[in-house]
């Protein structure tokens, strides 16, 4: 169950996953909301979101809202599972 995940462990990706897994599994957040919450730049957030998306841990939807393209992110079931395992791995390190 406790499985350390090198990809998730990077500070910003760790915080992205913490934020997205705090929401309901059916919720998705706007890119700018996430950027403000994490206090990172557009480019930085975009790069980390791409890595998480490529790994299948998050999903990015790009609908048109008021005729403008918007990006919404949400954690996938796989993302929630590996994040939980990563947290368990961190906790087990503390118990050693």
């Amino acid at each position: 169950m406790a499985k350390f995940n090198k990809l998730i462990h990077q500070n910003i990706r760790l915080r992205i996953m913490a934020a997205l897994t705090t929401l309901e599994s059916t919720d998705e957040v706007d890119f700018t909301y996430l950027r403000d919450l994490l206090e990172v730049t557009d480019g930085n957030l975009g790069a980390h979101l791409r890595k998480l998306e490529e790994a299948g841990y998050i999903a990015i939807n790009k609908p048109f809202v008021d005729r403008k393209p918007r990006s919404f992110a949400c954690s996938t079931d796989e993302g929630r599972k590996v994040f939980k395992e990563h947290v368990a791995a961190l906790e087990s390190i503390l118990k050693e």
Binding site: N11, A18, T22, E24, E28, D30, L37, L90, E91
Partner: protein, 189 residues
């Protein structure tokens, strides 16, 4: 990958603090907007009620209420665009029905009680609004309930101890207080 216990502890702290920040931003995002908006309306409306003639007051409250409702809808709509959830639409519908029923109950109580003066009617309305806000706080977030008790307490103190300056009291302490709380919550996020 081998990491030290300190590094693992720091990572867990970062996760916990991010999760708390997310929960707080969801819970308090709507609260600070409601507080500031209601605060501005109370500040202007009660100030006008204290100092202006009764002919104009109705128009001022009517105008402020319409403006507040429109701004509330616009801000709520903007907020809902940040977090998309299938549960949101259902929740918004239930909240709307709740407030409609509460307004009807408030009108019924005023109709039955026949308050002797405007101040008593205003006090009843304030208590009903705070009851509604408290219910919203309890349903949506426990951290945003306490201010409703404070405002209700302020209204009761003003009504019984300072009846001559009741409207001014509610304007500055009630309206002003809500604006300050709203700004405080906003800055904390």
């Amino acid at each position: 990958m081998d990491i030290s216990q300190t590094e693992a502890e720091e990572a867990l702290d970062a996760i916990q603090s991010m999760a708390e920040k997310t929960r707080r931003s969801i819970a308090e995002g709507g609260t600070y907007i409601t507080l500031i908006l209601t605060g501005v309306i109370w500040l202007l409306g009660f100030m006008a009620t204290q100092f202006l003639s009764t002919n104009i007051i109705g128009y001022i409250w009517g105008g402020l209420s319409i403006l507040g409702t429109i701004l509330g809808f616009v801000m709520g709509f903007r907020r809902s665009k940040q977090i998309r959830s299938p549960l949101t639409i259902q929740m918004v519908r239930r909240v709307g029905i709740f407030w409609l029923i509460l307004v009807l109950f408030c009108l019924a109580v005023i109709f039955v009680a026949q308050p002797a003066d405007g101040k008593r009617a205003v006090l009843l309305i304030i208590l009903f609004i705070m009851l509604g806000q408290m219910a919203m706080g309890l349903l949506l977030s426990f951290s945003t309930v306490w201010w409703t008790l404070l405002i209700a307490g302020l209204a009761l103190v003003g009504y019984f101890l300072f009846p001559d300056i009741f409207y001014l009291w509610m304007s500055i302490l009630g309206g002003g207080g809500m604006i300050v709380f709203g700004l405080y919550i906003r800055s904390r996020w």
